[in-house]
Symmetry: C2
Subunit: 373 residues, 2 copies
Amino acid sequence: MKTKPVETRAGRGDRVRISDLAEALGLTKGTVSRALNDYPDISEATRRRVAGAAQRMGYRPLATAQAIRTGRVRAVGLVMQLEQHDSQRPFLADFLRGISTAAGSEGWTLTVATAQSEAEGLETFRRIVADRKADGFILPRTKVRDPRIDLLRDRRVPFVLYGRTGNPEGCAWFDILGEDAMSEAVIRLADHGHRRIAFLNGATRFNYSALRARGFRDGMAAAGLVADPDLMLSGVVSVDEGEAAARRLLALPEPPTAILCALDTAALGVYRAAAALGLDLGRDLSLIGYDGIPEAAAVTPTLTSFEVDQAEAGARLARLLIERCRGASAEDLRETAHARLRIGGTDGPPAQDSAGLAAKITQKRNETRGRQP
Amino acid sequence: MKTKPVETRAGRGDRVRISDLAEALGLTKGTVSRALNDYPDISEATRRRVAGAAQRMGYRPLATAQAIRTGRVRAVGLVMQLEQHDSQRPFLADFLRGISTAAGSEGWTLTVATAQSEAEGLETFRRIVADRKADGFILPRTKVRDPRIDLLRDRRVPFVLYGRTGNPEGCAWFDILGEDAMSEAVIRLADHGHRRIAFLNGATRFNYSALRARGFRDGMAAAGLVADPDLMLSGVVSVDEGEAAARRLLALPEPPTAILCALDTAALGVYRAAAALGLDLGRDLSLIGYDGIPEAAAVTPTLTSFEVDQAEAGARLARLLIERCRGASAEDLRETAHARLRIGGTDGPPAQDSAGLAAKITQKRNETRGRQP
DNA sequence: ACCCTTGCCGAAACCGGTTTCGGAGACAAT
DNA sequence: ATTGTCTCCGAAACCGGTTTCGGCAAGGGT
């Protein structure tokens, strides 16, 4: 039954072991180990001597060997729960690059797993921890109430959120201030002269949704405008949902002259609705999105949107997690950054006010109706 | 200096160790180990007894502990060398999902690293092997002559190509038959009535380019058409390059009525060129791409293109690599699959032949010129 | 009845580290 | 000079497995 494995000569390879180091220094490997791990019972002199020799001889402890005693393998874990409409998808490569380079510079590696469902995801965490394939996790796409957090907090497994969450106790995180972006967008639209501004929010189970909604409201207040509840929809994620929502909004007696979307995918749906109604994006209807997905730059006119440096996010998350694994307290490991506005062609001064827009829409609709039968 | 690490109680956790198993069976752990690893000096009876107990007690060997003796950690490695224009990028999530689920079902995990340059990539391989973070590698985007292959082959590290290569000796692989797709596309265009068909190929250093070019030629031959060298360009990768190439082709005395692109990104550039010349895609000019990137479905008309099941590709690659690590010979581990045509709105019978198209282009150009000054 | 295989398993070394324990030596205090 | 404390390192156990080696018992041949 046993087939001969491929000869991996890496086995006896040129690695310097701790015993080599010890021998070269005239010490025992136990002493060398303690010196390298900053045990207090090692004199400063030998500590330096050992560190120097380790450096010179290129000694790097074998993580798998350390792990059997310490249980720590110097690997950050990432469990991706892929959903159909995941705005992070296009940026996954950048995100992973950020994580793996930051981790690599500390001698850590990245272990990736995927899950189709939440339950499977939790099981995956358990497995990876039990198998010692990672020392901690980066948790992307945090929810307001997130079972992953409960699980890991309960098991005392280190983790860092990409995003914030409802109960932040014991959580370290890095997050983009989506609320600031939404607020900035509203003020920009108000400066253009828009007074009726709609907001298409994402799925409310994700934590960012509440924040972006708050940012929208804050921006409206700052601009001296009223946030009409009829113009605030949530759960608008896919292109189709975006189109449907926009159609509904534009059929109102007092339609918005600008739509702000928490997700670019929804914004792409607005393109369709505008095209169907014969509206000019950027003139008849202004539109601002969030994420900066590639499709938004490929379409005409290009979408005004907020882009996030996902590589930077990954790098900072990795560094935070490593610090956390080394024992830093979660409360000291909380960072944020801003999204950057990428100006496209979909926002500008309104060609007419809400009433004018309503009239135009009615007129267009009648034209179309007239042509059809 | 030493900060207290986060208490990971996974350490003493509920894991059943091999010694637990041995004790329960009244055997020594050495015997149990040999039984589980199919050593020939274990009776079939005890082998079964051990396997049964392992199953029942939920014993799973700790990979990191095994690794220190065997050097094998049950992890597949993936080093992504990210380039600016990587058509795989949008599919990375699916690809990773395929790999990690297939690997997971065998108890393996996935270690991911990234590199900015070829040299850094090679160094990364060395590091991962030396640190025993992976037992073998999946090599995406193979080149005709690929230094990664030389390195790994030389060090006898198992690997599997995603793609084929110039010197296949000792290489296992999985690949999509891009040549068949190109050939199919040509025949489709010929069936539409096209006679002058152009081909925009990708970067020639990648192995797929030669294959797709061959597929184009084979398709032309099969359709009874001549492949005009003036209509075959290569190194056309980005949207800008695609646009420039299309402009050049359409300025020829006998322009093509159809363009086949080895990459969707290039095809997106053709959209721009067609728009600039006032040509109707699907009527004046037919266009077929390859990859099925999301932008190609977002644009109007949608691009006729070939899509690849990247999750399936990842899964098969993972399985092949695991087999390879278990000792299967590379020559027995070579699989292929087909891309699937996704019909869009960019291909159809030509509205006019090449001469007619040339006339139309000249006319449009004069119109534009007349308007401009 | 004797020797020689052969099959099968226990004992122990080993992999490359970490961690505990104890003791040698330096130095200060009595 | 003796005792006590403190510093610093060696020795050895340990982590959870794998692999080598040797030997016992059963079976086979003469």
